[in-house]
Point group: C2
């Protein structure tokens, strides 16, 4: 049973799921990712203009959902945050970095969502790779 | 502190990190994803030929690493499995589905890795979206 301590917190203007963009575009919404100072070294090499894949935990999602009401599709064939382990992935553009705070564009997570990881985005030409 | 019970297990021919392809291509390696029967309904709508994003936990990764030896880059600017929360993402192609077992192509996870989630892949044209 893996346990993950958040590495940081997302700050956004979205306070309810109704506010959240549905599969929005990168430009849509500004926010900030606050990384815990203990993990500062992990940010080395990230710069404004980079894309970063934010791995976050939808702590207010319904974890009991297995099929979507709207079309009966299974959650594993969807990107709905409602799912047994609501680990969510959002590609954001880094606008500025001050200390361990990243200002980003393209957020869709609710304010206060725990951030579990940041990664270089998936290269669609190569696809695989942890 | 989010807790995640695995939804399944990855079965691959990779038993050590030295075996694992580095950012390999989709075609490279066959494997299977066994989903716990309790989550069977979540697979509805997945079919052979589909791509699926496998969210897995690198349970043998070094979680103390913040910068990579090879170039000093921070782990949050990389896709190395070594990182504080080794949640890894691999795009696989579904070859066959038998019950709650998915035969897939494109694995790069070690045999026995816990699977935390399956998702529809990120659309590179749209980028964002949980």
């Amino acid at each position: 049973m893996p346990t993950c301590d958040p590495i940081g917190t997302a700050h956004t203007s979205l306070s309810t799921t109704d506010d959240a963009p549905r599969q929005g575009f990168l430009e849509d919404v500004e926010g900030a990712i606050d990384i815990e100072p203990a993990y500062a070294d992990g940010l080395s090499g990230l710069a404004p203009g980079d894309d970063v894949l934010v791995v976050w935990f939808a702590d207010r999602a319904d974890r009991s959902v297995l099929t979507l009401d709207r079309d009966g599709r299974g959650v594993f064939a969807s990107r709905s945050p409602a799912r047994p382990n609501p680990i969510c992935l959002t590609t954001c553009e880094v606008v500025a970095i001050e200390g361990t705070t990243l200002e980003v564009l393209g957020v869709d997570m609710l304010d206060g969502s725990p951030v579990l990881d940041l990664k270089r985005p998936i290269d669609p030409e190569r696809r695989t790779g942890s």
